[in-house]
């Protein structure tokens, strides 16, 4: 029974992993840039939601759109002013530009908010629903549902809206997209802002069960990379599968191994997947 319980917990946590990682894979898919600073936008999303909770009394789940908006705005500026300049530079310059952004955001939030741990209290924080012999944690369930809604909205946006189609066209062939009258620089800004916005959204919905501090993003970096590599770098659908898989792996490994080894299992899976199927479990299509 604890096995099924662990898988259930893993799926619920994994849904959130999917949403925070979709941003990473979206940016890569559209621009070919691996954003090492992506997890810092999770921190930003958490801080926004925390302040909204502390000063406006807003539930973190309701503050999630606000987190999205703030990160979207920051991402828009970061893409337009910084990343746009290295799009044709060697990939090492791209990697280390995003590492620089990571350092700035992490230490900027340390400077602004201090190093203390902040958490929220909500009415449903410790509640769980019992379904037969299984328990469903309410904060997990809410975070999962919000992530699901967000993922569906993104899917609709990418499939049905003009912007989504233009963005996919830019990802496939920027030169041809330009010939069709698409402003690719705008699409890049849109993709980056949307990507970091989604990650920030995920940051807000996990706030009821994760404590926020300036280094919190660092704990998610390798996890997010594992998710996107499992699903195939650049594949949004893959990130969903990868997110759920990582959630389940994490949850199951805590059944069999001491808690300190939880991430070790993840990293080993990560390296093995890279070695065996570098295009990801889902496939090469994006």
């Amino acid at each position: 029974m604890s096995l099924i319980q662990a898988i259930l917990d893993g799926l619920l946590i994994g849904g959130v992993y999917a949403v925070i990682s979709i941003g990473l894979t979206l940016v890569y898919g559209v621009m070919g840039i691996v954003n090492f600073a992506q997890a810092e936008f999770l921190t930003i999303g958490m801080f926004v939601a925390w302040f909204a909770w502390a000063f406006l009394g807003l539930d973190p789940v309701l503050a999630a759109p606000l987190s999205f908006a703030v990160a979207f705005a920051i991402g828009w500026v970061v893409q337009g002013q910084l990343i746009a300049r290295v799009l044709s530079a060697p990939s090492v310059a791209q990697i280390f530009l995003t590492v620089g952004i990571l350092i700035v955001i992490e230490n900027g939030s340390l400077l602004l908010f201090g190093s203390q741990f902040r958490s929220v209290t909500t009415s449903y924080q410790t509640e769980s629903l019992s379904v037969g012999p299984l328990f469903i944690s309410v904060p997990y369930l809410i975070a999962f549902s919000m992530s699901l809604a967000c993922g569906v909205a993104l899917w609709w946006f990418m499939r049905a809206s003009w912007f989504g189609r233009a963005m996919r066209a830019t990802a496939q062939n920027p030169a041809a997209a330009r010939l069709m009258g698409i402003d690719t620089a705008l699409m890049y800004k849109m993709a980056f802002a949307l990507g970091v916005g989604l990650t920030a959204f995920g940051g807000a919905v996990i706030l009821p069960y994760v404590t926020v501090f300036p280094g919190v993003g660092g704990q998610f970096v390798v996890l997010m990379f594992t998710v996107v590599v499992l699903g195939g770098l650049g594949s949004v659908a893959g990130a969903v599968v990868g997110g759920l898989a990582v959630g389940v792996i994490q949850s199951l490994s805590s059944l069999f191994f001491p808690i300190q080894l939880q991430n070790l299992v993840l990293f080993v899976v990560f390296i093995l997947v890279l070695a065996v199927r570098p295009q990801g479990l889902v496939g090469a299509s994006r």
Binding site: S115, F267, L274
Partner: protein
């Protein structure tokens, strides 16, 4: 020619520096660390620069070197000089093991796989308490000053050992760069498929380069442990502190060149120290924030590294000399 002149001047200048600094002071320590990081970035350059395989996991080898010599010293009283070679063997072995699954990977995938490998080593070092002391870290015991025991009263000998290490690693890098192996590695960088077609055994060459780079990095880890005297898993296996910093030094200086890592190290490490000195008393995070801003500015200004500034100056100067 110009490279040789520049390198000669650099080495002479670096050899003078330990004499000018207060042997009990803070800056001689910074110098020793700078030289060690320059050497590490140079070892990284063998794989990262020549074959363009960007490793973000070199902390794995570095930490192996630091732990091997220190554990051998603590448990068996073996001199760190010998421990350094033991660490080199283990570092080379680790590089071999990680190279097998990651060798076929390119670009971002290779970077991410090596990043995860560094993290694996960090977790293992934290958990294997009986060997490593776990998160509490290890202290290098102090013994009576003796060259063969790698124990000195002041830091000046450490600075010279680090300088010697830098010269040796740079010589190895240059030797490889000019050898057939160097050409093979650059062929892989340009076009792996084409290199394979013209008969380069890409797997073998990459393995060789990875093992040399890993072994050298581990040996430098021993030297670092002797200077640092105390370390823990999160320091020597750190992503930001070691893996990314090593790669960053080579990249900011100029990847694939012998002078690049030296320029990069003498820019980054002292800059960080000065920032810490000036700013860390004011507010937590300020010095690192400033460091990040400078990093971003430098990358936007010189995406191919500082070395390009010197190339430009040299070109201008030669044009002026022979109109």
């Amino acid at each position: 020619m110009k490279g040789r002149i520049a390198l000669g001047i650099l080495i002479a200048a670096m050899a003078l520096m330990p004499l000018l600094l207060d042997p009990r002071g803070y800056w001689i320590r910074v110098l020793a660390i700078t030289l060690l990081f320059a050497a590490m970035a140079q070892a990284w350059n063998i794989v990262g620069g020549l074959a363009n395989q960007i490793s973000l996991g070199h902390a794995a080898f570095f930490g192996i070197g630091a732990y091997t010599s220190t554990v051998l010293l603590l448990k068996f009283g073996i001199s760190p000089w010998l421990g350094m070679f033991a660490g080199g063997v283990l570092g080379g072995l680790a590089a071999f093991i990680i190279a097998i699954p990651t060798m076929r990977l390119q670009g971002h995938y290779f970077a991410l796989a090596t990043l995860a490998f560094g993290e694996v080593m960090r977790v293992i070092a934290n958990v294997w308490t009986s060997l490593t002391g776990g998160p509490g870290g290890l202290s290098v015991p102090f013994t009576a000053p003796d060259f063969f025991a790698f124990s000195f009263k002041l830091l000046r000998p450490h600075a010279y050992i680090a300088l010697a290490a830098l010269v040796i690693v740079t010589a190895i890098f240059e030797g490889i760069r000019r050898s057939a192996m160097g050409y093979r590695l650059r062929a892989i960088r340009q076009n792996p498929a084409a290199a394979e077609v013209i008969g380069v055994d890409t797997t073998r060459v990459k393995l060789q380069a990875a093992v040399i780079s890993g072994a050298l990095t581990a040996m430098l880890g021993t030297l670092y442990a002797q200077v640092a005297v105390f370390f823990d898993p999160d320091t020597v296996f750190g992503i930001a502190g070691i893996s990314i910093r090593i790669a960053l030094i080579a990249i900011l200086g100029g990847v694939g060149t012998a002078a690049g890592p030296i320029l990069g190290a003498f820019f980054i490490i002292p800059l960080e120290e000065i920032m810490n000195d000036l700013l860390s008393s004011r507010a937590a995070g300020l010095s690192q924030l400033a460091f990040g801003v400078i990093l971003i500015a430098v990358i936007l200004w010189r995406p191919r590294g500082f070395i390009t500034v010197f190339d430009q100056l040299w070109a201008r100067w030669s044009r002026m000399r022979s109109p």
